[in-house]
Point group: C2
Chain length 416, copies 2
């Protein structure tokens, strides 16, 4: 029977070279976040389909891989729609599963609960270069911490991790959805159109101030509002301290504690950081997900155009499961992008053991074989990586391949 | 909207305590197998449904979680059967994906290729205590190695790993399907009924020699054959070296190289092993999967009734994908069983850093907060795990919970 050799459309096999880097990065992440008191957790890759289609996931909900019912529950012939044949779905992110996990297990979890999740997620996106339908996400979240200590810890832990992976000169851009809203309110946009305003604002880095102005006018917003809004952004450019400027300008529509809390995050992270990066207040930062309720932040790595991870506060989501809100804040590293950057930069995993290949002629057996294997075992317990293999007919080609795999030394064993 | 807090039926959330042990075991496995030259690989969790339903998977093929087609390819209303609505399936083991991976990538892989896979698999089994529908498998496989060097390396690597995890006094039971067949041939069973004979033989540890005899007779096999067969097993019990006895007795129906190769595995592993276990020839060992073509083996850990992993040679499977056979041999550790054994024995992960919790009174901010965080950062870079958290109203309860999480020391910071 002809079987297909290729992975399913849009997903990929991971070759040994990439896996070495992935394993190394996973190790650094687990160790570094561990030092900050984050504990690893895991949830099933499938969720009840109703949990995945509750409007928290935005456009991702259109991309769910759905799982067919089984046994007596399934009746394809009589089914008229998807709901009839589906009960589970593959998770499209790690946030919904985390919130369900917390709701299910909170009695056995400490407060605050600091969780580290690394796992695959699935999205049936149109396949394109460098984007896959199964990919790894790496999320840290703090549940039960209402103060900005959560943001400070999340940002310090993530930037320490990035520093240990060799990244420097990057930026953490930060904003607060309450500042976004206050700026819109101050300018006189009607509250129900904030989301539309923010969608346009989000394009600032691509289309500039003029582009944003043009699009807002085109959307039919009042000229006064658009001008007042744009003036805020123009004035911001000249400010040394944008947060202080907005705190003062927006004082009628913004709780003072919001700007103060944000400034405290910027100051304390800047004062205690252990890697080379800059905290930047960015009043144009929007981030798409509708579940954010407060701070939002993003990693910008110069080598990589665009965001390389981000997060924010989502204080209202646990309540959707339990009826009782729990303060929550999370940060997701762009794991696949980091791997890509490391691969492209020719990154070599540090501290790998010496690699030696023992090639044994066909026919070597009995006591001679025992002594070769004993020698390999001794070298392994001394820390060397030893491959024991039969010598191929084409020994030269075999050695070439092994050299590509990083084997530096060859020892050959013959019958006599 | 009411969302369900529970994981999907038959799958589970993994709590921090178990995750710590899982992460530790995964680390030991990757490091130890690495020393033997195994390289990590990964394949997508989904495969094309035709690859999963090709009769290689035995009963597991009845337990596949199937994935719904998407977009225009899906038409539920007009569908009459599963095939109409399904294109992918969740993998039920790591062997089929490995063979597909090897077929797809062999041009870029060394020969022999030594692969380590750790990943989730899914089986829609009837839910029962301690068995889950998503679980982790851990497989090592050597492709392209025709000699028994493959078996020797697989068994040494696996037993070294088990030793490092603290297991001792266990057994590796080994047999060869060619010996099984030769014993059946010698006894005069017709070739087409071997599988039926082996299914009965497989119950030896439960129903004993008499039980096997009774069942074979009940199945209608010739009395002569059954007696001859049982006599072989009775005689084996008295033998010091069962392999030598069978090599001699079965010499008309068994290639001498089979027994010789098996004995060489037993001898060389016994002579070079680095952990406390015994190699045992077990002529009653059958192992279910039909794809095995040569040696078969199994781990028996006394604390755990039944097998805790196993494997064997499957030289004909790559050919199913490529048309060209490639020698292959694999060993799968019962990862979930090992975790269960460690959890039940109260296993503590060694070498964990000291855990200290900094509890900060509400209202501590500004410079004071900076100095606390700077202190935490310094302790972290000295290797301590530091949790920085706001002090809860019920400080006593908070500390109790953190003590349960392993925090040994508390430092409290107040406003003045």
């Amino acid at each position: 029977m002809a079987l297909s050799k290729k992975p399913v459309t849009g997903m990929k096999d991971i070759l040994p070279e990439e896996m070495q880097i992935r394993d190394y990065v996973i190790g650094v992440i687990k160790e570094t976040y561990g030092k900050f008191g984050f504990t690893s957790i895991e949830t099933p890759c499938m969720e009840n389909i109703s949990n995945l289609t509750n409007k928290q996931g935005g456009d991702n909900e259109k991309l769910i891989f759905k799982v067919l019912k089984r046994g007596e529950k399934l009746n394809v012939a009589d089914a008229t729609c998807e709901e009839d044949v589906v009960d589970f779905g593959m998770r499209y992110d790690l946030t919904v599963p985390l919130v369900r996990y917390y709701s299910n297990n909170s009695a056995n979890l400490p407060s605050p609960f600091k969780a580290l999740q690394m796992g695959s997620v699935w999205r049936a996106d149109r396949p394109q270069r460098g984007r896959y339908r199964q990919f790894t996400q790496c999320d840290i979240d703090i549940l039960g911490e209402p103060s900005n200590l959560a943001e400070i810890e999340l940002i310090l832990a993530t930037t320490t991790t990035l520093g240990r992976l060799g990244f420097k000169g990057f930026e953490i851009r930060i904003n607060d959805r309450q500042i976004l809203k206050a700026m819109a309110a101050y300018s006189g946009f009607p509250e129900e159109s904030y989301d539309s305003v923010f969608i346009t604002l989000d394009k600032m880095d691509k289309i500039g101030l003029e582009g944003v102005e043009a699009e807002l006018l085109e959307k039919g917003f009042a000229k006064d509002s658009v001008e007042k809004y744009l003036a805020l952004y123009k004035n911001l450019e000249a400010q040394e301290n944008g947060v202080a400027y907005l705190a003062d300008t927006l004082k009628d529509v913004l709780e003072p504690s919001v700007a103060q809390g944000l400034q405290e995050i910027i100051d304390s992270v800047s004062a205690t950081k252990s890697s080379d990066f800059k905290m930047v207040f960015d009043a144009t930062l929007v981030r798409g997900m509708s579940y954010y309720t407060g701070t939002i932040f993003e990693i910008a790595i110069p080598e990589f155009g665009g965001s390389c991870g981000g997060g924010g506060r989502y204080d209202k989501m646990v309540g959707k499961f339990t009826g009782q809100d729990v303060p929550a804040c999370g940060f997701s590293i762009g794991f696949e992008r980091i791997i890509l950057l490391l691969m492209e930069s020719g990154f070599k995993v540090p501290g790998k053991p010496k690699k030696v290949a023992y090639l044994i002629e066909k026919g070597v057996g009995g006591e001679k074989l025992c002594s070769v294997i004993a020698q390999a075992q001794a070298a392994r317990s001394d820390g060397t990586q030893v491959l024991v293999a039969r010598m191929n007919k084409n020994k030269k080609f075999q050695k070439e391949q092994l050299t590509k795999e990083g084997y530096e030394e060859f020892v050959e064993f013959y019958k006599d």
